[in-house]
Amino acid sequence: MKKSTMKTDTSVSIGKLNLKNPVMTASGTFGYGLEFKDFLDLEALGAIVVKGIALEPVLGNRPQRIVETASGMLNAIGLQNIGVEKFLSDKMPLLARYKTPVIANIYGTDVKDYVAVAERLADSAVAGIEVNISCPNVKKGGLQFAADRKAIIKMLGGIKKVYKKTVIMKLSPNTGNIEDIALLCEDYGADAVSLINTLVGMAVDLDKKTPVLSNIYGGLSGPAIKPVALAMVHKTAKRVKIPVIGIGGIMNYRDALEFIIAGASAVQIGTANFRDPAAPVKVAAGIKEYLEANKIKSVKNLIKTLKYQ
């Protein structure tokens, strides 16, 4: 046996990015990464996806911003963030010390803004961008783009012109046709799609007779949405050729492998980080052990291997 074939290969490619393993952190659940350095080895991650970044700082929604639901949670943070300038000056230099690609999740209130943030990041140490056209918690810059074909075409056109590294489009489950939107993104040059963002949800405080969240609606995440995410990833991976990044309720390596078998080339860990801040590295380690135990040389050999009865 040649030595090279004996090593288990956990690496995957997403656009121009080569990741040492398929496990990323999901935007908004991992801060700017540094908050987690006491809980896990940031270099054991496939990639770090940071909190959504806009052109200008954003205050976010009034509290109450989150609430737990059955096996899930609603959030309506309202994309509070420090803005792209401060991100580049204060956070990125610290993050760049780690040998893990940093992906910036970006958003704006109109197409122009999105393009401007992408342009500002073009020459930075950021390895790729994830374009959030699916946030349910802001009046503008969120869901109105999720299924707007014209806006998406315009946005991708603008971004591709100013940003030459990897572009991932983050899709919303709050449409009847996520596969069609994914195909559109592929056609207009996206390097990958990531799904799903949160499902629009709501909680009511019966005693006060008010919505629990100040924003009324929030985004549902966590194990509760895993079946919905799996179905959408499976349907999308059947249709597009670019990599699909699976997100939604992934709590452990078995969940992650289910997404990979169903068609995902990589996964993101979101709400799980709140239960266990070391979750992403545990998932990565679990995948590696699984490959070894089952004598599978490369995680790539598992992608989209679902069999039908």
Partner: protein
């Protein structure tokens, strides 16, 4: 790495009041807790409840951390059924501390420590710390009624003042009524309790008295990453060209839980 996630075992889990429990967790030696900090407990292997739950440290030793909690919902009901020997994982201790605000100039200061409801938990540990540090101290606890008073730790000592809304124990009225009598501009007030109590504190003390309060907000991560636990804090130089907003959101879990009352937008 990983030094902030801990496995612990239940040493005891006693009922000490109406729906109120005192739980001691055995931990590996070496966890340092400062008064006002909290731990974030994973209550169940099940995904329902999903999130961790934050609890102020009521007491701590080299080998144990105590909390006092009220069984009010799903997670705390589950906690109340835990028995000796069961394992519980927690992150933390996290958050700043009351004592971060103590300056060398406060050696002779009278510290008024107020706990309302389960806010008494962090008041206890703070009082213990102040007593051991030889500080002057007045400890006050307020609750809705006698059965809800927490009589454990420092609260069993002499000189503690109690209030109940219904007068079933201590003075009839609010803890802030006691503060009103005790506070002077030279004293420093440390308080933890429900929002209305914290609001009332402002009026209870003479203008200029420094008041520090520990806040509770709904938490997602408990480690500063999700910005869900925020509270509005006044911004200095607000209204100037560079500073547009009159307030900014600060994270209770890591920027607090203790804030100077004057800075808060309540």
């Amino acid at each position: 790495m990983k030094r902030l996630t801990h496995d612990s075992q239940v040493v005891f889990n006693r009922k000490i009041g109406r729906g109120i429990f005192h739980m001691r967790l055995a931990v590996k030696a070496g966890i340092r807790v400062k008064p006002g900090q909290f731990i974030n407990l994973l209550v169940s292997d099940s995904y329902d409840p999903l999130l961790r739950r934050p609890f102020s440290v009521f007491d701590a030793s080299e080998k144990s951390i105590d909390i006092v909690y009220s069984a009010i919902g799903r997670a705390t009901f589950l906690m109340s059924r835990k028995i000796k020997g069961e394992s519980l994982n927690f992150t933390g201790p996290r958050g700043n501390s009351y004592i971060d605000f103590i300056t060398p100039g406060m050696k002779k200061t009278l510290f008024i420590v107020v706990g309302g409801g389960t806010g008494a938990a962090s008041a206890n540990y703070l009082a213990k710390w102040l007593r051991r540090a030889g500080m002057r101290l007045k400890l006050i606890q307020g609750a809705a009624s006698k059965g809800l008073l927490i009589k454990a730790g420092e609260f069993c000592k002499k000189g503690v003042l109690f209030s109940t809304d219904d007068g079933s124990a201590g003075i009839k009225g609010f803890a802030t009524d006691i503060v009103k009598k005790a506070a002077s501009v030279d004293s420093v007030v440390f308080a933890c309790g429900p929002k209305p109590m914290l609001g009332a504190l402002k009026k209870a003390v003479p203008k200029g008295t420094r008041v520090f309060v520990s806040l509770e907000e709904y938490m997602g991560c408990g480690i500063g990453a999700c910005v869900s636990c925020v509270t509005p804090v006044k911004v200095k130089n607000a209204g100037t060209k560079r500073v547009k907003n009159s307030f900014e959101y600060k994270r209770v879990c890591v920027d607090g839980t203790v804030f100077e009352l004057d800075e808060l937008v309540l």
